[in-house]
Each structure stands twice: as structure tokens, then as C-alpha cells.
């Protein structure tokens, strides 16, 4: 039985598999990190590498003067966090996120996106 178990372990090592990161890192966002969008988005949506704890995860969006432009409370579902936005005029905006992964580790990050023409 031990030989079979050993061989199976080797086989399983050969299988690929998404590694679990210990912290929730940002894997995707809309608007994209550092990106430009033509029309003002109604919300910012962030996807992470791990599932989040809603009670301890938050996000703020500010304009170039530092004023808050997000509305309501961040909505967390699994590994995605979404927050609504006021009507945005063209310009650069900063997203500051603080999240708690279900594995109890906190992470935070920040990025900008640009709205309008150029």
C-alpha cells in the first residue's frame, strides 16, 4: 500500500494547480490598474486571488484633490469587491483598497485610473 501511495503522490506532484497565495492580491480590476476609460464608470470592481472577509474589507476612491467619489458600502462576494461611484468628470482617480483574506491576513494597495478623452 505504501508503494501505491508514494506513486500517487508523485503523480499528483505532476499535476499543475493554482498555488494558493497567503495573501489576497489584486488579480484584476475594472477600470484596469493604470488604465484609461472613455466614459465615466458607475463602479469600481476589484478581483483578488483569495476570498475576502466582507466585515473587514473596504475600498475608497478619491479624485485628484483627494475628495471621496465612492458611494455606499463596498459589496464583497467571494473574491470580488465592488463599490459604486458618483458621476465622474474627466480626470485621474485613485483607488485605495484594504482587504482581509479569509486566511486572516490583511493586504492593501492603491492604483490610479483615468477617465475621459486623452
Amino acid at each position: 500500500m505504501r508503494t501505491q501511495v508514494f506513486v500517487l503522490s508523485l503523480l499528483l506532484l505532476g499535476l499543475g494547480g493554482a498555488g494558493a497565495h497567503a495573501h489576497a492580491m489584486l488579480s484584476n480590476s475594472s477600470p484596469p490598474v493604470g488604465g484609461s476609460v472613455g466614459s465615466a464608470p458607475r463602479q469600481v470592481s476589484l478581483s483578488f486571488t483569495q476570498s475576502l472577509e466582507p466585515s473587514f474589507s473596504s475600498v475608497q476612491v478619491t479624485d485628484s484633490k483627494g475628495a471621496r467619489v465612492d458611494v455606499g458600502k463596498a459589496q464583497v462576494s467571494g473574491s470580488t469587491m465592488t463599490i459604486g461611484l458618483k458621476a465622474l468628470s474627466p480626470g485621474t482617480y485613485r483607488v485605495n483598497w484594504h482587504v482581509l483574506s479569509v486566511d486572516t491576513h490583511k493586504t492593501q494597495g492603491s492604483f490610479t485610473f483615468h477617465v475621459g478623452g486623452q
Binding site: 500500500m1 494547480g17 493554482a18 494558493a20 479569509v102 486566511d103
Partner: protein
């Protein structure tokens, strides 16, 4: 924050595996070996008492260290200092009721209380336990060990790989409780048997533990390989990251235990079983007891390493 947490984690792992391990050992090894036909009443009483002590002390330490671990993690989740988290209570409540970690800890509290109740009922029954009670004890003890998975790196992954990793972690912990957690009860059983010169009890317990140990080690190897893949991901991570180095230390300690267990199974237990009550059997028993004690020490060292590993970022992220 990390050093107190590492200490508390180590104590909690040791306590959980000791309590669960003693309960599992009692169900699979002790009670079958101590049947009235095979063993005198006095010997049975002494061993049952010693095993009960191990389980109860383990449960109390599990409860206390679990509570300390919970408070430390709750504090790290919030942004408040420890004193205000302790006095305020709202953070503790939020963590306990709304986070995965908190809910798992609530479940584990229920399991601790349940196991305590079942063990008490088993003690009252004075050995003529029902199959249902034994089944319940095994299930709750395994659950108490396995649910530690929610406090480790096995959690948080998404999709099928996430489920596989968590399941592997759960089984890894149950197997660890059975094998590593069963070594102290085994040492105690063999010590009592040796002092009472009851070689037949020593033989029976060793033979039963051999088969039991092989199954547990098999599960540990298999699930350990899965976990290593998910958390280190490559040989480079094992050699180039701090996490990898510690993981290698853990594996090395495990191999030491495995080597001793192999000696026990291949040479010493058969020597014990083959001879009746002569000198070779006594010699084998002495060596067996010594090896088991060394294994307990190596097992404790592994738990200390795991306590540190759990607060480090896994190698795969670097």
C-alpha cells in the same frame, strides 16, 4: 504580534493533537487491547486513567490556547491595539460571528465541549462502551483536529484547487492527530505494560499501533505532497525561500520519525511478538519505548516548525 502568536499556535497544535490523538488511540488501540479476556482489571484501570488524564489536560490546553489564538488574530484583523480589542468586545464579536476564521473557531469550541462530554460518558461506562459512542468520539476528535485547516494556509484558495488544498490539509491534520498524537498514549501504555511485566499487552498494543501508524503515515505522505505542491510549488522555492527552508526542516524531522517508526515496525515489534516473556522481548520493549519517546520529541519539534510556517508567506508567493 508574531512571537506571541507563534507560541500560542505551537501550544494549540500540541494540545489539539494530544487531546484528539488520545481519544483516537483509546478507540482504536487501547480499548481493543484492554478487553477483559486479554488483560487484568487493575492494569486496564491504570491505563484508562492515564489516557483520560492525557485527553483532559489536552482539552483544557486546547481551550485556553484556542482562546488566546482567537484574540490575537482578531486584534490583527482590526486596526486597534490589543487592550481595546479585549475591553471593547465588538471586534471580537464581529470576528467570531462574521469571519470564516471566527465561525470555524466557534465550531471548534462546540467540538471541544462535545468531546469532553463524550469522553466523560465513556469513562462512566467503565469500558463497556457502545459502538455509537466510540463512533461519535472518533468523529468529533477527528473533526477537532481537521478543522485546524481553517487556521492555516490551506484556506483562501478559489475553485477546485482551493477545495483540494483544504481537504488535503484537513486529512493531514487528522492523520497527524492519529500518529503524532498517538505516540504519547503509546509511550504511556508501553510504560505501564513494561512495569507490570505484561508482555502480552505490550505486544498487542504495539502490533495494533503498527497497522494504525502505517495508515496514518500513508495519509500524511500523500496529503503532505499535495500541500507542498500548493505552498512551495517548485524545488527552487524549497531552497531559495525562508518558508522553503523551514518546510525542508519539517520534512527532515518527519523522516527521522519515519526512520524510527520503521525500526519499530520491522524489527522491534516482531521481536516483541516472537518471544514469549524472555530477555529478547524485554530488550525489544525497552528499545521500542525509547524510540517512541524520541518520536514524541521530534513530533513536538515539527509542531513548533508548523507554528512558524503558518505565520510566514508561503514560498509560492515569492
Amino acid at each position: 504580534m508574531d512571537d506571541p502568536l507563534i507560541f500560542v499556535r505551537a501550544v494549540h497544535f500540541a494540545a489539539t493533537l494530544t487531546a484528539a490523538g488520545a481519544a483516537l488511540f483509546n478507540a482504536f488501540i487501547a480499548q481493543p487491547s484492554l478487553r477483559p479476556s486479554a488483560c487484568g482489571a487493575e492494569l486496564r484501570t491504570v491505563i484508562r486513567q492515564r489516557l483520560a488524564w492525557i485527553a483532559w489536560i489536552g482539552l483544557v490546553l486546547t481551550l485556553l490556547s484556542g482562546a488566546a489564538w482567537f484574540v490575537l488574530v482578531a486584534q490583527s484583523m482590526s486596526d486597534e491595539p490589543l487592550a481595546s480589542v479585549w475591553s471593547d468586545g465588538s471586534v471580537l464579536r464581529a470576528v467570531l460571528l462574521t469571519t470564516d476564521f471566527g465561525r470555524d473557531w466557534l465550531l471548534r469550541l462546540v467540538l471541544i465541549v462535545l468531546l469532553a462530554g463524550l469522553l466523560a460518558a465513556d469513562l462512566q461506562g467503565k469500558g463497556e462502551n457502545s459502538r455509537l459512542l466510540k463512533f461519535a468520539i472518533v468523529l468529533v476528535a477527528a473533526g477537532l483536529a481537521g478543522t485546524l485547516a481553517w487556521a492555516g494556509h490551506g484556506i483562501g484558495g478559489t475553485g477546485l484547487p482551493g477545495i483540494i488544498h483544504l481537504a488535503a490539509d484537513f486529512l493531514h491534520l487528522v492523520a497527524a492527530a492519529a500518529w503524532v498524537g498517538g505516540l504519547l498514549p503509546l509511550a504511556v501504555t508501553l510504560a505501564v505494560a513494561g512495569r507490570a511485566s505484561s508482555m502480552s499487552l505490550a505486544r498487542t498494543a504495539s502490533l495494533r499501533f503498527s497497522a494504525y501508524g502505517v495508515a496514518a503515515v500513508g495519509v500524511l505522505l500523500f496529503t503532505g505532497a499535495i500541500n507542498t505542491w500548493y505552498l512551495a510549488g517548485s524545488f527552487r522555492a524549497l531552497t531559495a525561500t525562508d518558508y522553503g527552508h523551514l518546510l525542508v526542516v519539517k520534512i527532515a524531522l518527519f523522516l527521522v520519525m519515519l526512520a524510527l517508526a520503521t525500526v519499530n515496525r520491522v524489527w522491534l515489534t516482531p521481536a516483541l511478538a516472537a518471544d514469549t516473556d524472555g530477555k529478547p522481548a524485554r530488550h525489544a520493549l525497552r528499545q521500542l519505548r525509547r524510540n517512541v519517546v524520541i518520536e514524541v520529541a521530534a513530533g513536538a519539534a515539527i509542531l513548533a516548525v508548523v507554528a512558524v510556517l503558518g505565520v510566514m508567506p508561503p514560498g509560492i508567493g515569492e
